[in-house]
Amino acid sequence: MDYKLRKAEPKDVSDILRLVKELAKYEEMEHQVTLTEKELLEDGFGDTPFYHCVIAETQGESSRDDPRVVGFAMYYFTYDPWVGKQLYLEEFYVMDECRGLGIGSEILRHLSDLAMKTRCTGMMFVVAENNEPSLQFYKRRGAEDLSQEEGWRLFRFDKDSLVKMATPAEE
């Protein structure tokens, strides 16, 4: 199967949302995806994008077939005050039927290359500990599990807690 990697364009938002939902289903969290195509479009392709996306697209069986978007990676830049810019890999997914063809490896290689070129000293991401295939995929390639090795825990404040904290205190 021939495929190519390219930068996402505004027309790709419906495919991106489709793949986001497929990945959420794999993680058993499909009901949590409340983002819409419109929001993805505004947030990724406006004046100051919140994210960037790389798309894996296959050519159909014959030249008459439309190309299909079969994988994607969504990333943005974060900052570690100890070592500087980082590339944060927010989402990374290849459709089930297109796995084992090297698409995932090529996306990861492309992102690592981009990280080096944009002066990032690391590439960071999270994985659920019960996601053995993904954990192994990354560890085989040299990723360090900072939660295991250094004891970092990820915390989250949800909307209600944020609203409570944002209200100025009486003190």
Partner: protein, 174 residues
């Protein structure tokens, strides 16, 4: 104690750098701090800054033993959730030991939450804490934070140094 929370300016970078090191010492990883206040200035105060920073300042008459009036900081940036949209990551929150217990930490955290909600309609605020850092874990839990490493088994992973280099240079076989 009187204190003021304000947006950091370029001139605050020396103080911020000093406190970054103090926080790294507290986290028992001072040898991991590789960047200087000049790099911080370059990355935080350019056209498209890579982070935002708030500082907590006390009046001259309440300055620290070493003469510092900038006594705390919060460093954060905007991130994105494919489920919910814009989010905030609070990378560092620190108050100098002699100024703790006076509401400065809470003040910094509230200000970050306020900016997140008002400026970007962020729906989540994330941060990471070391497992042995009970005072911090308790501080955030009391304010409603959920430990995703416990509840969802989330682990933080990183490629850096030679591993990042290797990855960039080859496409390993699965």
């Amino acid at each position: 104690m009187n204190f003021k929370i304000r947006a950091a300016s370029k001139e605050d970078c020396k103080d911020i750098s000093r406190m970054i090191m103090e926080l790294a010492v507290y986290e028992k990883m001072p040898d991991q701090v590789k960047i200087s206040h000049e790099e911080l200035q370059r990355d935080g105060f350019c056209q498209n800054p890579f982070f935002q920073c708030l500082v907590a300042e006390v009046p001259e008459e309440q300055k620290s033993k070493e003469g510092c009036t900038v006594v705390g900081y919060a460093l954060y940036f905007y991130t994105y959730s494919t489920w919910k949209g814009p989010t905030v990551f609070l990378e560092d929150l620190y108050v100098m030991p002699e100024f703790r217990g006076k509401g400065i930490g809470k003040g910094l955290l509230s200000k970050v939450a306020e900016v997140a909600k008002k400026k970007k309609q962020c729906v989540h605020l994330h941060l990471s804490v070391l497992d042995w850092n009970t005072p911090s874990r308790d501080f955030y839990a009391a304010k409603g934070a959920q430990d995703l490493t416990v509840t969802e088994g989330i682990h933080v992973l990183r490629f850096d140094g030679q591993n990042l280099d290797n990855l960039a240079n080859e496409a390993p076989k699965d």
